[in-house]
């Protein structure tokens, strides 16, 4: 990557990365806010590991890994939700069960398919700079489906993730909405893995929400700020990758983490400065 061009998004591959990245920056926090409210911030990570087994299966069977990862992730997400809702095992144990089984199965399937290669590394760590137009169409389609569904169902979904017992007494379809949230989380993981990678996908769901909840005063406001932070982190991460020749997926997540750090410090410092001003 060359830094001789002043504007990072003048070349085709950077524009493709920007389009796909912005989609992830928007739909990942849009679903992440419900996971954070439900105290399941790490479920995206767990499902990502199950999706890794799907990538392994796709490479072994010579099928496009996105489809096999989607199938594995959806089944894994529904499995975690089933175990959690029936209280067969504690929520974190249910996650761990799928988390470790998924990555173990992935390792075995990839070893059967010839071992680690560039293709596997791309899905593990993400690589937006090489994303193809056909992949962008898949990302936009899946991301669009997630965003539209979450917007349409934002109120009942908010009720369920905020107060499950009350929602049940009010006759809301709690089990159905929980399953839908699990399936859409799986779809989001797979749609984002080509851009940020299986190992970092949960960060794009959670970190923008973590920053937003420090400054927003409503659920709706938190969602709006989180989407802006998510999209902004993508632009900042891709720009940093262009300027300093660093891994773009890691740069995007570090940008999101930096926003959280800055907002946290500013929030702590602001009241202190105001107090000093009052006393001064």
């Amino acid at each position: 990557m060359s830094a001789t061009l002043s504007f990072p998004f003048q070349v085709d591959f950077m524009q493709r990365a920007l389009v796909a990245g912005l989609a992830v920056g928007i739909f990942a926090p849009a679903i992440g806010i419900f996971l954070v409210q439900k105290r399941l911030s790490l479920i995206g990570d767990g499902i990502g590991h199950v999706a890794f087994a799907g990538v392994g299966a796709g490479l072994l069977l010579n099928v496009w890994p996105v489809w096999t990862a989607l199938a594995f992730a959806v089944v894994g997400a529904l499995g975690v939700d089933w175990l959690r809702s029936r209280r067969r095992v504690a929520g974190d144990v249910a996650l761990a069960l799928f988390f470790y089984s998924g990555i173990a199965l992935g390792v075995v399937l990839i070893s059967l398919g010839g071992g680690l290669n560039a293709n596997v590394i791309t899905f593990l760590f993400g690589q937006p700079l090489t994303v193809r137009p056909s992949e962008i169409i898949v990302i936009l389609t899946l991301g669009g489906a997630i965003t539209v569904t979450m917007w349409a169902l934002r109120r009942p979904m908010f009720a369920v993730v905020t107060d499950e017992d009350w929602s049940r007494s009010a006759g809301l379809p709690v089990d159905g909405l929980n399953s839908l949230l699990a399936v859409l989380t799986a779809v989001a993981v797979v749609a984002a893995m080509r851009i940020v990678g299986i190992l970092l996908v949960a960060a794009m769901m959670v970190l923008p929400v973590a920053s937003a909840q420090l400054v927003a005063r409503s659920f709706r406001g938190t969602l709006a700020v989180a989407v802006c932070v998510g999209a902004g982190s993508v632009v900042a991460g891709l720009s940093a990758a262009w300027l300093w020749d660093i891994a773009p997926s890691g740069a995007m997540v570090l940008a999101a983490a930096s926003v959280f750090a800055v907002v946290s410090i500013a929030k702590r410092a602001a009241p202190r400065a105001l107090r000093q001003e009052e006393h001064g």
Partner: protein, 254 residues
């Protein structure tokens, strides 16, 4: 708010029996709540109040006896908006900031149809519910920045938002400030008078609502008393004049 026995029951339990691991918790419990009636269910700790409430709402099945909610088995009631429920909870454990209005809107979903967008009449009902509990000025404030009493009023407004025919409240004024208790009493009066709703309040502290309770049911495994607050005076319990009477009397029943 005079109780009228002849009116159809919104909620009725007959000869309900229930136990855990063979240990009886409830024996031959009967009660009814009609429209426009305010019934308080009281009892000492371990008297079976919570178990009875779960049975009345359909979360538990009685071993014997019947429960009818709006004339049907609780599981068969499709129009759940007819029931407003305020669970026992000190505060909202919300990770993400959520305003009073956002919480109360949830209460409208079952009335509107959860898959349908909210209309103008729904927004009016939500604001009306918020105003009725005295939180209009705090509608845009995050719930987790409010006091325990204000939060409880937000949950009561959520139950009001569906304009329920029956309101069931589980220990709603436990640890709540005096201002919130007064607001709470006013809003229940409004619901009963304006909407002819029935109210079942589970508590061991009735001083906040002493003036508006029609009937008190005292539970300790079985129904020990079912009558008006006036009848309770004969047992040496005054709800309004000496608020400490009831908790002391219930303690004596343990």
């Amino acid at each position: 708010m005079a109780s009228e026995r002849a009116r159809p029951a919104l909620l009725e339990a007959r000869d309900v029996r229930f136990g855990y691991d063979g240990e009886p918790v409830l024996q031959d419990v009967s009660l009814r709540v009609a429209g426009g009636e305010f019934v308080a269910l009281v009892g000492p700790n371990g008297s079976g109040k919570s178990t009875l409430l779960r049975i009345l709402l359909g979360a538990l099945k009685p071993e014997r006896g019947t429960v009818r909610l709006f004339g049907a088995d609780p599981d068969d009631v499709d129009e759940r908006w007819r029931l407003g429920y305020v669970p026992q909870r000190p505060t909202l454990a919300s990770e993400v900031p959520a305003t009073v209005e956002e919480i109360v809107v949830s209460g409208r979903l079952s009335r509107r149809g959860w898959w349908r967008p909210l209309g103008a009449s729904d927004r009016t009902a939500v604001m009306h519910a918020i105003e009725s509990v005295g939180l209009a000025d705090l509608a845009k404030r995050p719930v987790n920045t409010l006091s325990g009493g204000q939060q409880q009023r937000a949950f009561i407004a959520r139950a009001f938002a569906s304009e329920p025919e029956l309101l069931v409240l589980d220990e709603p004024v436990a640890g709540v400030d005096a201002e919130s208790q007064r607001r709470f009493s006013d809003s229940l009066t409004h619901l009963i008078r304006e909407h002819d709703a029935g109210v079942l309040l589970v508590s061991h502290e009735l001083s906040a609502v002493a003036a508006i309770v029609d009937r008190v049911i005292v539970l300790k495994g079985r129904v020990l008393f079912d009558g008006t607050p006036g009848d309770l005076v004969h047992e040496g319990v005054s709800l309004g004049i000496h608020p400490e009477d009831l908790p002391l009397w219930l303690e004596g029943l343990r």
